[in-house]
């Protein structure tokens, strides 16, 4: 072999070995650190939902779940401890993976699954769950589905913790002893006086239910039914009406798999009432309290 080529191969191999060694060490360190997160950051909340939640009622969903359901009110009314595991920017695959992990650990009484109307139509890779890729087969299949051949990258710990690493480090360095996870997970939103953020984005939906997402829902529902866990799909209020076609499709899915579906998106007291919203999709604390009260009444009927 050409001397130059031998030298470059040797150089690349040496750098490669160094990177692999760091990859291994960083993976071990971050795997140990992530389970110790104990603050209110999004990474910590995911970790808490994945590893530690043990309440009889669990609410799951996106930021709309997180900001729309007040667990304390549900707890006072139903008499069962409730945790809100909603997380900003997450969609259906994230929720199904968290619910699956919860059902692996214990048997809750009820799962409240807040769904965004667009959730069933486009699979979004749950990248927030990359750190748990090797621990959970459902997370693995969900991420593999999104990444395609790119899933080979998941065997690199550095890639698995890409971006999350900085959050873990900053949380551990910056968190104060008082900054511990709230027991109910709910994060209230304040009233925003700037109504410009309440503008509505037109909904131009045309599509079909994604078969992979449908199979995930079916799997979670089947597991819940098998363990006598009540499960309910809900759409909470939006400032402007959603695309009716999407809601119809979700309703059909729920009928087919035999679970209750509560479409609260068009509740009259919320539609076109900006005083109850922070922006056009998120209720403020006042709106959340009013909505939770209505939801509790519906919940008694479902139970």
């Amino acid at each position: 072999m050409n001397v130059n080529l031998t030298k470059i191969v040797r150089t690349l191999v040496l750098v490669g070995i160094g990177v692999i060694a760091i990859d291994f060490a960083v993976g071990k360190i971050l795997d140990a650190m992530i389970v110790k997160l104990n603050d209110c950051g999004q990474t910590s909340l995911t970790n808490y939902a994945y590893h530690r939640v043990e309440t009889p009622i669990v609410i799951i969903g996106s930021s709309r779940a997180n900001h729309h359901y007040v667990p304390k009110m549900i707890e006072d009314s139903v008499g069962l401890k409730t945790y809100n595991a909603g997380r900003d920017g997450q969609t259906l695959l994230y929720c199904s993976c968290i619910l699956n992990a919860i059902m692996d650990r214990y048997t809750p009484k009820m799962l409240i699954w807040e769904i965004v109307p667009s959730d069933l139509f486009e699979a979004e890779t749950p990248i927030a769950l990359k750190p748990y890729y090797h621990q959970d087969s459902l997370i693995k299949s969900s991420i593999d589905h999104g990444l395609g051949w790119g899933c080979v990258l998941m065997y690199s710990n550095l890639y698995r913790y890409n971006t999350t690493a900085s959050k873990i480090l900053s949380r551990i360095i910056l968190s104060s002893p008082t900054d511990t996870i709230k027991t109910d997970g709910y994060l209230p939103l304040s009233v925003v006086k700037n109504t410009r953020s309440l503008c509505h984005r037109p909904d131009t939906f045309e599509g079909k239910v994604d078969p992979f997402l449908l199979s995930q829902i079916k799997y979670i529902v089947a597991r819940a039914k098998q363990n006598n866990i009540k499960i309910v799909l809900v759409i909470s209020p939006t400032l402007k009406p959603c695309a009716l076609k999407q809601i119809e499709l979700i309703e059909n899915v729920c009928q087919n798999i035999g679970i209750p579906f509560l479409d609260n998106s068009q509740l009259p007291i919320f539609v076109n009432n900006p005083s109850l919203f922070t922006d056009f999709v998120h209720l403020n604390h006042l709106g959340a309290e009013q909505y939770t009260q209505i939801f509790i009444e519906q919940l008694h009927n479902v139970i």
């Binding site: 001397v3 130059n4 160094g18 760091i22 960083v26 890639y159 900085s166 959050k167 410009r196």
Partner: protein
Amino acid sequence: MFLLTASYYFYMNWEPVYAVLIFGSTAITYLCGRLVEKYKDNHRRQKLFLVASLIVNFSILFIFKYYNFINETIFTALDYAGLRWPIPNFDILLPVGISFYTFQAVGYSIDVYRGDIKVEKNFGIYALFVSFFPQLVAGPIERAKNLLAQFYVKHTFNYDAAVAGLRLMLWGYFMKLCIADRVAMYVDAVYNNAGQHNGTTLSLATLFFTFQIYCDFGGYSLIAIGTAKIMGFNLMVNFRRPYFARSISDFWKRWHISLSSWFKDYVYIPLGGNRVSFGRHLFNLFLTFLISGVWHGANWTFVAWGGVHGAFLVIGVLKNKYLPNIKVNSIFQNGINIIVTFCLVAFAWIFFRANNVGDAFEVIRKIFTEHGGLFWDMPTFTLAFPALLLLLFKDFKDEFLLPVNFLSSKYYLIRYLSAIALVTIIILFGVLDGGQFIYFQF
């Protein structure tokens, strides 16, 4: 042949049909070049074939890049005058890299016409010059004098060149993935909702964009130059620590050097450069930068950006002519000049980034009048600021020739550890699902 096939394959990955365009441009420029040489004793004919080459190349550019913009501008102007004369827009995608390869082809034609280079007789070699894949989609805009000759040299694998190329690529990826795409999250969130943010936040977003555009395009250029270097080709340096420039004219000797030198050689000097009356010199300067703005994109924001730089340069020339040069401590003076130039360049970037000219003026108004609490994005800040510090440190040490080296240290261990650390940082903290390079749209 292998490189030519690879280059066309690379280009066809975007939109296969656009390979026809680049081939058409190549064939016509090649033919005109041959004819210009054939009629070297007949100046009129030579000029005719040069003009033909320029018309064909600029027509392609005009149709694909500027037609809709000009159509809409004329429509709006006529509409103001009470006339409605709608002509449909073209519903076409802008071919990637069209501005770059067109300018490269045009530069070749002019060089042949001027007799600065000999015409390239081998069509395959000429086609490779236009389509050479490392620099095809976003430069550097190469000169025939530099690149064509390299295609005739038999390249054997060279360890030192390959390592140098890999180092450039590694730093380029760091700039793109750890800085440009990271700060882009903040810049996009703020600039796409400029009306919702105060001047403090817009100032930080502008500062971030100043580094985003440098790291995005500078990073791409390093990757392109590094790729070519591994194969044994030397492309021209495109960025030379632009934010350490002492004046706006110095900035343009450091920023997108291949384009600014192209404009100098093929627009500014043919217009007369500075060997004309003082007023005409100022006009030439301003016009060159206005055209440079138009080159960047079919939008008034780019025209305004070019105009602002043109105005800065005109003011610089006037200052040098009429204001006395105050002698102060050179370190202090250099420091002040660097800071002032940086602020002026950052100001001009507002026009480049804003979604429209109205937004740009709104951003400027808020920056100077509306201050308040900062829009806080801790995850972005945590990752962006250390990376920016690393970039500034590297540029600072290169600018002032500090004897500190990492990737090119004379010590074996430091070299390897630096490379390993940089790869680790890129994978662990880089934005690996980020967007396309900004300059691909030009």
